[in-house]
Symmetry: C2
Subunit: 230 residues, 2 copies
DNA sequence: ACCTGAACACCGTTCAAGT
DNA sequence: ACCTGAACACCGTTCAAGT
């Protein structure tokens, strides 16, 4: 048919189809030829919209990061009265609260697409949504009184925890087959075959417990910091 | 040449060469044909030792997990005197200490091979070293007084944090090119191009900070638990 | 500008054949 | 038992050709 009057493809359509394929069948299932078939075009057609498969993958990753809520990092110092800015900006949310809300949204966005987490965990690269996220977190921590070096570390360790929790289900990693857990080899795993059946509650419970422990520990550290500098 | 008098390959040699290839050039670089070339044999030869590429990958993953130190989970209740066992088992290490030492060893083993972390993060499956690790951590926590449900969560959240920290360098995820960080778009990332140059210290600092915060938070939780049940 | 088929150098895996 | 070459159905990507 050659060139149609109205384009068959767009970057948006390609990205959406790629993400669907990755979600349904895994990263390995995403081939340019398979994706093209899904979109009812021939393989090379995709190269009119993306230079390489990696560039396409980058776009998919950034669309996922774009789902993360960053609004808890808005707001300015003080009580929020009389700043006279164009945009209504309330007072800044206390950092432990903001970090908590952000981490939950971050995790939810990633856990909806676990198969792409290994790609996204490589860092922001030049992807705008990922850079915006890093900027918002770091900025909020610094303006809340954390030294810059500590703020960097907190950005890093929060990403460690969130990507780790979204990468794969802990519970589902244990085979449901009770035969696997020979009591002679693994004396404490007698109930492990039940784990996979409760993957939702186990993984969410672990995430919440870890997040709260992490934030409690950071608050402790912040208090020690404040005590030293006074 | 057909069958040589002494076998050209062994599972051990194949696993070692595969890990080297993954470390040096990434998971995508590991193809059966490329690996075979590296070992000076033809592609199909590998199938005499592993049924599929996935089975080979499983063996590589378990060899990495086998490097994690679990000795801090040895030891028995009480003072360690007069148990009369065959093996000398000292008193049990307090759980926060044991978890700290284990997490560092776990992270070191994984961070030495970041490209394989996405595979290993899928859970133990039927891999013996991974199951042994899960058994040791869970057993130690339960015997230290944690309720079984909480012990499961702690095993999960520790894996989240460690795999997340080993999956990729936080610092190296930020391009060293200062042009990337336009002040209009990312007002707080003006120094982010320096990050990649300090990847070692940034990532290790973040890991240690996070690990200590996590353990502080868990100790707090454990104390609240003990207070409630008394 | 945007699609196509043909082509190139790759994949994982199977299988018959050799010793 | 353990290696080989040939073969099958796949890959990502390039390129000349079509409108």
């Amino acid at each position: 048919m050659a060139r149609p009057r109205t384009p068959l493809l767009s970057r948006e359509r390609i990205v959406a189809a790629a993400l669907r394929l990755i979600d349904d069948e895994g990263l390995e299932a995403l081939s340019t030829r398979r994706l093209a078939t899904e979109l009812s075009v021939s393989g090379p057609s995709l190269y009119n919209h993306f230079a390489t498969k990696d560039e396409l993958l980058d776009a998919v990753v950034d669309s996922v990061i774009g789902e993360v809520d960053l609004s808890m990092f808005d707001g300015v110092a003080g009580t929020g009265e009389g700043e006279g800015e164009g945009l209504p900006a309330g007072p800044r949310t206390p950092w432990p609260e903001a970090l908590h809300a952000w981490a939950r949204s971050y995790r939810a966005a990633l856990a909806a697409h676990p198969n792409i987490v290994p790609v996204l965990a490589q860092g922001p690269g030049r992807r705008p949504n990922a850079l915006r996220l890093a900027d918002a977190v770091f900025g909020h921590l610094v303006e809340s009184g954390w030294p810059r070096g500590q703020a960097t570390r907190i950005g890093a360790l929060m990403r460690y925890f969130v990507t780790g929790s979204a990468l794969a289900s802990f519970a589902a990693g244990f085979p449901a087959d009770a035969e696997v857990y020979d009591a002679a080899d693994y004396p404490h795993l007698g109930e492990a075959h039940r784990l996979a059946g409760h993957r939702g509650t186990v993984d969410e419970g672990a995430f919440e417990t870890g997040l709260e422990a992490l934030l409690d520990g950071l608050v402790l550290r912040f208090e020690r910091l404040a005590a030293r500098s006074s």
